[in-house]
């Protein structure tokens, strides 16, 4: 039995244009983020997978199960999926408990219990409320809980945070992170936010104009594609690291990653725990020799793998290798010229800040 989700859709927009034209193999484990600007076909792809939209030409296999092929098409309500919509999708005529029970009554037999899900998403205080008496963040929490209760074999999430203000996002993200870590259900997560993708995803599909541009492991995609949301300021790289040592005197933690180690502020992590670090390209500067008089804590010997121009002309992005890991550094073109930086050169990367994102 194939361990993949195979999705091929061809959805014409007009005679010459496609709304969606993809042929994808997606892993059936972990979180796969579908990333791209608005209008790139992300939501359409998710709707075709859910069976909410019909692609006249298409094939969809979930492992060995065929959900669409030729004229055979499993209707949405017979697919073992759950879907979290972008905006509020709770039934307005039912309260929270009734919304949850709507799913529970129709759920597969081996699903989680109401109590488990309510605890995961902290819903106990909301059960008797009607959807119009909930905040946006609370509504999405209930919608996620309802999706889990149906006991899906595939969880589809269509920008579940995009309708929320930053404070509400911050309120829900920890729940989502916990869900993504704990759940053994594969999740397809549509997003146009690099921040969300870095926090949640393992695998990344990059879309534009209804087509898939590239896909692969998140770390590789961030380096290869220089992904950014709205501004260039969030071009970044991701490292997975393990806590190796806690320095109680200076309140620092030493983290080991594939290629070296880093010091970060200790925040009560325990030794051996795994962390995900995000390092923005604009937070890295380059020196040619190891400085001994710098206040910067993390100075990593590395070598330049590639240099590319950024749109605008003033800035360049350096791709750096540190052992088996890679980082991106954004420098002015003048600095690159003055230091005489070339591909293959050994340099020192100074990391001004390292964000622990989970």
């Amino acid at each position: 039995m194939s361990e993949h989700i195979h999705a091929r859709f061809c959805l014409p927009f007009s005679k010459s244009d496609f709304q969606l034209d993809v042929d994808l193999r997606l892993p059936r484990q972990g979180v796969t983020a579908i990333f791209g600007p608005s209008g790139s076909g992300k939501t359409t792809l998710l709707r075709c997978i859910a069976g909410l939209q019909h692609s006249p030409v298409g094939e969809l296999y979930f492992g060995g199960d065929c959900w669409q092929r030729g004229r055979h098409r499993v209707p949405c309500h017979r697919r073992p999926i759950a879907y979290v919509f972008q905006e509020a999708s709770l039934f307005p005529h039912l309260n929270v408990a009734q919304n949850l029970r709507y799913a529970l009554r129709r759920a597969a037999a081996d699903g989680p219990s109401l109590a488990e899900v309510c605890e995961l998403l902290a819903l106990d205080a909301l059960m008797e409320r009607r959807p119009d008496r909930l905040s946006g963040g609370e509504r999405q929490r209930v919608a996620i809980a309802r999706a889990l209760l149906i006991a899906p074999r595939l969880l589809l999430m269509d920008e579940p945070l995009s309708g929320l203000d930053p404070a509400r996002k911050a309120e829900i993200l920890p729940f989502l992170e916990q869900l993504c870590r704990q759940s053994n259900i594969p999740i397809l997560y549509v997003s146009h936010s690099v921040d969300e993708v870095c926090r949640l995803a393992d695998h990344l599909v990059v879309m534009n104009d209804g087509r898939v541009i590239d896909q692969g492991p998140l770390e590789k995609m961030l380096i290869d594609r220089h992904l950014s949301s709205d501004s260039d300021s969030d071009v970044s790289a991701l490292l997975r690291a393990e806590v190796e040592e806690i320095d109680t005197q200076w309140q620092l933690a030493r983290l080991a990653f594939d290629g070296g180690h880093l010091w970060v502020r200790s925040n009560g992590e325990s030794i051996g725990s795994e962390l995900r670090l995000r390092i923005r390209a604009q937070d890295i500067s380059i020196t040619l020799s190891a400085p001994s008089d710098s206040s910067i804590l993390n100075i990593l010997p590395s070598s330049i793998v590639a240099i590319s121009d950024e749109p605008g002309g003033a800035m360049q992005l350096l791709q750096l290798a540190i052992g088996n890991s890679q980082l991106l550094a954004r420098l002015t073109r003048r600095s690159v010229h003055q230091l005489g930086l070339r591909v293959g050169m050994p340099v020192y990367a100074q990391l001004k800040s390292v964000a622990i994102i989970r």
Binding site: H77, Y83, S89, I150
Partner: protein, 234 residues
């Protein structure tokens, strides 16, 4: 003043017949109109607009025109007349059943329109959500669509009922004026005026005014409760 003194036996009979007619017609119309409104809402067929136009035709067509064609259809050579003959049942013309058939056409737009508006206001999204929660089409219809259309359903029933109460032209054409069979309030009122019995005419007219006012008041309340939902879409 008791009702017995307010209306005499013949008028009471007409009142009862009118209420029975409106009740039967509304019940049938709700059953017919719900799928019809759904189809008008969702269909992309090229027949959608012509069908919608036919359904709304009674809004502008003189009731006597509708009644005239129905009378022809129910006559011994008309399609409905041949059907009743073939089935061995009594002719529809000048009977209560005939009035029911006529009223179905006459009041159809008043039931379809509020339902269609309510369904359009509900939109596709709640039904899609239900589908992702394993609810099949019939399940979705009863557990999501109907509850969300509740105020539209009530408006449709109230409007259909009230409109059938006031029917006159169609009744006169296909029903005539048979006490206990086709003699409804509006026709009875006309009879009283013809006979210059203004006292009885006043009572019937006042009664119908009161019923109509109460109905519209009820609709206004519904409109407030339903907030964004339009009660009358035309």
């Amino acid at each position: 003043m008791s009702t017995a003194a307010f209306l005499d036996a013949a008028d009471l009979n007409a009142l009862w017949l009118t209420i029975k007619l409106a009740g039967v017609v509304v019940a049938l119309l709700l059953v017919i109109s719900t799928p019809l409104a759904w189809w008008l809402c969702r269909s992309r067929s090229r027949w959608r607009r012509p069908v919608a136009a036919v359904i709304t035709l009674p809004l502008v067509l003189p009731p006597t025109v509708l009644g005239f064609y129905l009378l022809l259809a129910m006559g011994p050579t008309g399609p409905l007349g041949r059907l009743t003959t073939a089935l061995g049942v009594d002719s529809l013309a000048f009977s209560f059943s005939g009035l029911v058939v006529g009223s179905l056409f006459y009041s159809l737009p008043f039931v379809v329109q509020p339902l269609q508006n309510a369904m359009e206001a509900v939109g596709q999204r709640p039904l899609e959500v239900a589908a992702t929660l394993r609810a099949g089409p019939i399940d979705r219809f009863f557990t999501v669509l109907l509850p969300l259309c509740r105020s539209g359903l009530i408006s449709a029933a109230v409007l259909g009922f009230a409109h059938t109460l006031g029917e006159f032209g169609v009744v006169l054409m296909i029903g005539g004026n048979i006490p206990g069979e086709t003699q409804v309030l509006s026709v009875q009122l006309y009879e009283h005026v013809e006979a210059l019995d203004y006292d009885r005419a006043h009572r019937l007219a006042a009664l119908m005014l009161l019923i109509s006012f109460a109905t519209m008041l009820l609709l206004q309340w519904l409109r407030r409760d339903g907030r964004s939902q339009k009660v009358l879409g035309f």
